[in-house]
Symmetry: C2
Subunit: 480 residues, 2 copies
């Protein structure tokens, strides 16, 4: 029985702004104690029995970053594959794409375990047991959901009603799915005992889910099949990868797998679970991962407080001082600061909407940007200058390029660099520097076996990222 | 009649942390609309009739900075003098030192106008009238205070009770000084009509104040006289300057001019004023300088808000987002963030005490440090590197120096530099760079007529400020 965890890494998590952003979404958020959500999801998936491949559905911009995060924790060298969406098209499209690709590569009997990249599950053993039960039901032709035993009447989740008279091995048949309830209804669900939080995780045979999708949402399957046909599956570099064709993908209906399939099919079962699950849906949920002090405060970073209670502060870099405040959630990043309180944590998404409609970039980018060759971090945007810290991976190389309006000054602070500057090639050691005049073709390479860290100071009248002419590139970006 | 405004620039203003710090205290705080408090105080003083000199009592660390601020706004080229205290010794010592120096240079009939460097006065014409009245009374031998007509029952100020039956030209004789009252007493004072806020501004003849100090606080006068005797008055550089001898100054009693003199003398008068005075005593007071929007919010900097009312945000650099919060005061600086509320604004000083007792430097320094040749701003402290923006004034020069453990890389982003590097001298134009190896003697000069702005990247294993050997210096710092 081949098991393929399918990690869905699509959402942005705008309620977790300013840490979560479009180019650094929620799965990449660092949690207290190291590792981010996608690494935890990867490790959780890869330690299950029978896993033959891990398939991730994400987008082109996040591919290198996801690879980096997986490789940093993957000791077992799993077979990895990626489906890259040109834009988000909801979960039915993502599940259908994964199923059709797996039908191609693994056949109809392979079993898919659909996981969100940004959930937390504390009890790995209970999770593994739940998955084993789910696989058993999946092989019998069920579409299996994971129903979380509710610990309180949450109004932010949908619920699954289990059919109390229809027990299956390790699970139950599903009677119906219900929308997010009001508080009274939620309380009734919790006391009824056969209602569960819909976790958004699923397990099914590739053949089953495709048959059922064809029956209940044929337009989704057809449009996704056409997209896959127009999209090349490439292999090499240690993983296989399929970038979905945008033109055909645009025809796929924007619908969730719950609406498209789960609420319509009669073959849905649920595994009731008590696995320490959280969807980390707001800063309230994140705050609970941090130790509470005697005043009810939870602090990540350097915080001083006076006469302040029940606050959460998450500050990467700066000292934060609280004086006489209560119930605040404070999240500080190098370029943006959020101050809200426990009652309004869900409303942070309104700020992200304001940023989008105002054309601001603070919902998109962080200071550190990932590239195939490494990363760059903007340290300072000054008048007539910009400063970046550039980290180049061993043996990696930036493109051969030229800028019309700026000179670039490179100072090696760690490792070693080979620099092509106009007609010359020179080797720069740690603590050495060079400069590239505007108009000179240049290229930066790391010939070594450790990271090259260099400080780049750009100087000139115009410092936009679009002042770049690329001549040669190892990553196919010449025509960008 | 010679009038000498004496600007007392001693206090730190710890209730205005994190903007106000020991090396960048409250008088240097930038206000909305440009200019800082000490510049406003300087301009207010220098536009008065009869001013022959402006004497500032401050400390050694703030001399260059104060000079810079004055010169930036001084079109009339006033005669400037400074008394530099080695440490704060309260206001009686400062007034006595100013009076004794003025006795020496101007004689007993010169009139002193003692002003705090960090107060705001909105109505300059009313202030000028009040000062003219004060000078008239001072020449008659009165110690003149400025009593502010109370607009509400403030409990944070001391009050002056005027003797209603003893009117003087433009003022009244003082019956008594009273300590900070409780709210009921303050209300009674406001309705009584003859109580005024004690503004801490004074006007008196040099001869009068010294006679009265000798009568009521002879120990202060004697100890300060001994200090002046041990402290050289130097002239040149466009101003005169007296750095008080620390050993003798340590013998001066630590007492305020109110306790030492005003509450004891029978020659005290007050000028009742309605001049738009504020001592800018907390972030509440600062917030009132900013325009209020329709939700009662006052924002300096880029702020987005949702469902938030009556907040004040002061952020130099970063985007701040408020969601569902009220009555907060948020002050954001590059290295420290304060969050408090209107009811607790006075308690910010507790944070400064925590910083001091914890050995933290965030109460001392800002990222920008003033030097006689210009300024430097630390942009980034990294592993194995440190980045500074250095601004060198026209014609100024850093010392000839050498570092054992770091190389320095200089990139000119504006203006022109002359660099001495080991045996070589070279000229660097805008957008050019050079680097100084560890162990090489070097010097940086600005030969031009506009500011030289350069980015310095230090690289090496040890980057402490103490790795410096100075060989020659234009500012007498070789033996530092």
């Amino acid at each position: 029985m081949e098991l393929i965890p399918v990690i869905m890494s699509g959402g942005v998590g705008s309620r977790l702004w300013p840490v979560s952003r479009e180019t650094h979404p929620k799965p990449f958020m660092q949690l207290p104690g190291g590792q981010n959500l996608i690494q935890k999801t990867f490790l959780r998936a890869s330690s299950l029995d029978g896993v033959v491949e891990i398939l991730t559905v994400t987008n082109r911009e996040l591919l290198f970053k996801t690879e980096d995060e997986y490789r940093a924790v993957d000791r077992a060298h799993h077979s990895l594959s990626y489906i890259l969406e040109p834009f988000g098209r909801n979960t039915a499209a993502a599940v259908a794409a994964a199923a059709l690709q797996l039908l191609e590569t693994r056949g109809p009997d392979a079993c898919m375990l659909v996981l969100a990249a940004d959930h937390l599950i504390k009890d790995q053993a209970a999770f593994a047991t739940a998955v084993a039960n789910a696989v058993t039901l999946a092989t019998q032709g069920w579409l299996v959901t994971f129903g979380i035993k509710p610990t309180y009447p949450e109004t932010g989740f949908g619920y699954i009603e289990a059919d109390a008279f229809n027990k299956l091995a390790g699970g139950q048949k599903v009677a119906r799915f219900v929308e997010k309830p009001n508080l009274d209804t939620a309380k009734a669900y919790v006391s009824a005992g056969n209602y569960y939080w819909n976790s958004g995780m699923f397990c099914f045979r590739v053949g089953t889910v495709l048959d059922e999708l064809r029956a209940h949402a044929p337009d989704v399957v057809e449009a996704v099949a056409a997209t896959l046909e127009a999209s090349r599956l490439s292999t090499g570099k240690g993983y296989s990868c399929r970038a979905l064709d945008a033109e055909t993908f645009a025809n796929v209906p924007d619908i969730s797998i719950d609406y498209a399939l789960m609420e319509r099919s009669s073959k849905v079962a649920t595994i009731p679970c008590d696995i320490g699950w959280s969807d980390i849906g707001s800063w309230n949920a994140v705050s609970e991962l941090t130790h509470e002090d005697e005043n009810g405060n939870r602090f990540e970073g350097e915080v001083l407080s006076h006469a302040s209670r029940n606050n959460y502060v998450n500050s990467e870099e700066r000292l934060t001082a609280l004086v006489g405040v209560e119930d605040l959630l404070v999240v500080d990043t190098p370029d943006a600061l959020l101050i809200t309180n426990r009652a309004h944590a869900q409303d942070v998404k309104h700020i992200v909407q304001q940023l989008k409609s105002g054309g601001h970039t603070a919902h998109l980018l962080h200071r550190t940007v990932h590239r195939p060759w490494g990363t760059y971090t903007t340290l300072e945007n000054g008048e007539r200058f910009k400063i970046k810290r550039i980290v180049v991976k061993p043996k990696a190389s930036l493109s051969l390029q030229m800028h019309h309006h700026r000179s670039e000054h490179w100072i090696v602070v760690s490792g070693m660099a080979v620099v092509i500057n106009d007609q010359q090639e020179l080797m720069l050691n740690t603590n050495e520097s060079t400069f590239i005049r505007a108009g000179h073709k240049h290229r930066l390479q790391n010939p070594g076996v450790i990271d090259l860290v260099l400080i780049e100071v750009q100087s000139g009248d115009y410092l936009g990222e679009d002042d770049i002419v690329r001549f040669e590139d190892n990553y196919g970006r010449v025509d960008n």
